[in-house]
């Protein structure tokens, strides 16, 4: 079975690589298979990782707990035997179950899209996602991308760095501040990039370009290692492992 799998994997790998030469039936086959398999995979994953544990499973658990509502649980507390009523539906606990109705209703509304007359109902689900996402992103980005980044700059400029020496670290810190100011100026929308301000934005764009170039150069490594992984599979696992085994 494993050998078949390796052969299949290797052939599909070659099919995808053939795309680099030009579009061809092998690539078309692999591409359509990939779209189909991955969509099916995600469907299974959504069912088992989200729909079941977060909705269906919880509803099932609710009925199970309901059945055990009057059960007595005996426990040993510090040598003393205590009898406790099984499950008490206190406020929050009950609320958690009652509120399950919300995702249920929203999901049904979402599926109403299948009927063109009621397709507008799917907006309810969309707006729930949009609203929650917007709130979450707002706070998250405020903290990590504004406050944290500014806080990272607010430190003494003169730095005694063991790595670069005091001079270079200090120069670096000055460049860091100036570069951030200039970079931010590039993103100004309500002022024309002319005159002295234009010079500043120009410097800003230089900083952005250096940062893009460096990121690109840094990335090449990762991309090559992916190819190494694939070729390693083709050479060591497939060719050496199964054919010349």
């Amino acid at each position: 079975m494993e050998t078949i799998g390796i052969w299949l994997g290797a052939l599909l790998t070659l099919c995808i690589f053939s795309f680099l030469y030009k579009d061809n039936p092998f690539y078309k086959f692999a591409e359509h298979m990939f779209v189909g398999v991955s969509a099916g995979y995600w469907m299974g994953t959504y069912f088992h990782n989200t729909i079941y544990p977060k909705l269906i499973g919880k509803i099932g658990h609710f009925f199970w707990e309901l059945a055990h509502k009057n059960a007595m649980v005996v426990a040993n507390v510090n040598g003393e035997t205590v009898r406790v009523q099984g499950i008490s539906f206190d406020f929050i606990h009950t609320l958690e179950y009652v509120l399950l109705i919300i995702p249920l209703v929203f999901s049904v509304l979402m599926l109403m899209r299948i009927f063109p007359r009621f397709s507008w109902m799917s907006r309810y689900g969309v707006s729930l996602m949009v609203g929650t996402g917007a709130g979450l992103f707002l706070i998250g980005y405020l903290k990590s991308n504004v406050i944290q980044q500014v806080a990272g700059l607010l430190k003494p400029v003169v730095e005694h760095s063991a790595e670069y020496g005091t001079t270079w670290a200090t120069v670096g810190n000055l460049i860091l501040i100036v570069g951030t100011i200039a970079g931010l100026s590039y993103f100004f929308f309500s002022k024309a990039h002319k005159g002295a301000f234009g010079v500043m934005t120009k410097v800003g764009i230089y900083f952005l370009m250096v940062s893009f170039g460096a990121a690109f150069g840094y990335t090449i490594m990762a991309r090559i290692s992916l190819l190494i992984g694939r070729l390693d599979f083709l050479i060591n696992t497939w060719l050496l492992g199964t054919i010349f085994g």
């Binding site: 989200t50 499950i87 689900g125 996602m129 120069v171 250096v210 940062s211």
Partner: protein, 325 residues
Amino acid sequence: MKYRVPILITMIAGFIMIIREFIPHEPFDRIDNWLQDWYMVVAAFAIVLGIESLLHLHSRKISFKRKDWQYSVVLIVSLLLMSIAGIFGGIEDKTFLDMDNPTQITELLATEIDTIDGKRTVAQMLPADASAMSEQEQGAYIYSQLKTITVEVEDKIKVSTRHPDPKRKYTIPALYLDRKQLSLKQALKRQQIILHRGGLGYLLKFYLFGGFQFSYQYIYTSLMGTMFSLLAFFVASAAYRAFKARTLEATLLLLAAFFVMIGRVTFGTILGNVIGLDIPQITDWIMNYPVTAGQKAIMIGIALGLISTSLRIILGIEKSYLGRE
């Protein structure tokens, strides 16, 4: 109803997500989890719509025999097989044990089952004269007893610990235990061990799960990894085309990429030793200061744009996602 209610939902959800950051009091300490769970469920349900759209598109392609319709067959078949295997076979790792297979019986006999009074092995559940039985016979015995042997397993129940005497209320960190009588079959299933002896249901599950695992491991992973690795080629072709010193900006882009590329590999160290420069350190310095400056500017800018867009959404000003301006 068509526009007002969705906007209201957005507003409420957004406001809750913002203020819960500042309110540690319940129910705000968990309301974000609830909201996220809910929308994840809604989004997960929506995949039905997506799959429907995909099937619709490709089945039309097939029925009208449009160009390349044969590949649509491949797509639909692989989609259906994979989703059926995924949903019915399950995606968690399982152990399937064939009761007619001697080596698997040995494996099973060593399996420990947790019961309330400690661990017991399956071997302890065999009759006294089991040692005289062949492994196949042991398997047959275990399989015949699957439903009759019951074991006690721990089952955690979430209990709000109210003492019968209301004045004495315990709040005990540990949860109470419940003893549950389960058949051996169920008990093993909890440990994702599935025993079968040729029954159709088991076989189906076995093959569905096996098929899912197989396609995940060999088809899906290979395709994903290969698609990802194409980037190695594209990075090179993009670099050859774009990294030309046309303007000052392009030159800076080129130089920064060049330096970092050299500094990232062993070659940089060797070259540096020859020309008397510590190239990895220079690369580090570039990454630490000028690059960080650019990154910070981008990150702060993005956050401001994102905050203002989010704010417009939450205040109901931005309605484009409903198709309205």
